[in-house]
Symmetry: C2
Subunit: 229 residues, 2 copies
């Protein structure tokens, strides 16, 4: 990816961990005159383009919002399409160099069973980047898992909250980029997002362009890190 | 406030609950050639101007970020000033019409003891608006309180997470407005912020102007509410 190589060294500080909220698939489909459900299939390739760019730049960890338990309330034909898109994305990632971790509520028929093996971190190829993929993820499920763990043995050993949530293997986010113009987290990893900088791209996710990433990184470059201090 | 009256009825939908992150006091002070610590005292009056505007418009609940446990790591002379500003704000609010609730970790000498009575909701005057004030607040403290509650009796009654956090009397946020240009939550009520729309004002908080609020409300007016669905 020559386009990314030209950007290497351009940023004073890169985020270690970038969160991706790929919103706007349905609105994009409607603008194209397609059914809403048909937008999801166009969201897979942009994710790989973005992954390759971040890999070239040296970003160490990415977390992609696949679908949430909230999302599964949508019409069944839409649900099937975003489930299918998630399974396809993992199939394709298996041919790349990444350490994949799928995080989500597996105690549900809405969790695609093809993805069960990847709820333990799995190395593909040279495992060059940690890639986390939220699938049938719910913020309540994530936080409430801490209650289950801490009411058991670990409570006596004073395990902290951040070590007890369901997504505990996912590190703190430095930068979250959301496509589709909305300025909200929509339940995206509430604990890891606490100190993250939040960048909005107005274009819909299937209209992803490399410049969106570069603009987000340039903006991030000018922010300071205070961790609330 | 004539300025707010002219805006009544201009918005198709108003947020019920607005969160306020009044950032930039120290940067503002430095620009004025003052010591950083001296910026906090200039943050009290803007809060009341904003409260009066929101009251006129019919907004039912506001939550103000006072100071956090993270903030108390700052130099002691700064800490004293933001503690003093919080106490002064409550003194002034006592002459208004509001239902005040102060939320924060009171098991610390950093919590101003003058504010202890207000950790139970207190009606001032006609109690026209719910005002929540986060004082020595910490997101870890807030979430971890749920663990304490749920490991006790209530766990058997299956109390939900949102009913068990320390800030459980504060409702879901519809809109969060942050002054000072930074695009991050910095630990502001992670559970109540899950679905909130997030609006950034580049001006520093002591430079508050009514138009900042009106611009935020106009922008919010054009958003949809999906609650993740």
């Amino acid at each position: 990816m020559e386009i990314a190589k030209s950007k290497i060294g351009m940023y004073k500080r890169l985020p270690s961990h970038v969160g991706i909220i790929p919103d706007g698939n349905r609105r994009w489909a409607e603008k194209q005159g397609m059914a809403k459900k048909d937008g999801y299939a166009f969201g897979v390739d942009p994710g790989f383009e973005l992954y390759e760019l971040c890999l070239e730049l040296g970003i160490k960890e990415m977390t992609f919002y696949g679908f949430t338990q909230d999302n599964t309330k949508r019409p069944v034909e839409q649900r099937k399409e975003f489930q299918r898109a998630c399974v396809k994305a993992v199939d394709m990632l298996a041919a790349k160099d990444a350490e994949l971790l799928v995080v989500g509520n597996t105690n549900s028929r809405l969790f695609p069973k093809e993805l069960l093996p990847f709820t333990r971190r799995t190395v593909f190829g040279k495992g060059l980047m940690r890639v986390n993929f939220l699938v049938n993820y719910g913020w309540q499920w994530d936080l409430a898992s801490a209650l289950g763990i801490l009411s058991g043995k670990e409570a006596k050993n004073r395990v902290g909250l951040t070590d007890a949530i369901a997504s505990r293997e996912i590190s703190r986010l430095d930068l979250i980029i959301r496509w589709g113009g909305r300025r909200r987290l929509s339940g995206f990893l509430p604990v890891q997002s606490i100190y993250a900088d939040f960048y909005i791209v107005d274009e819909m996710w299937p209209d992803f362009r490399p410049k969106h990433l570069f603009e987000a990184l340039s903006w991030y470059d000018g922010q300071d890190v205070t961790l609330g201090g």
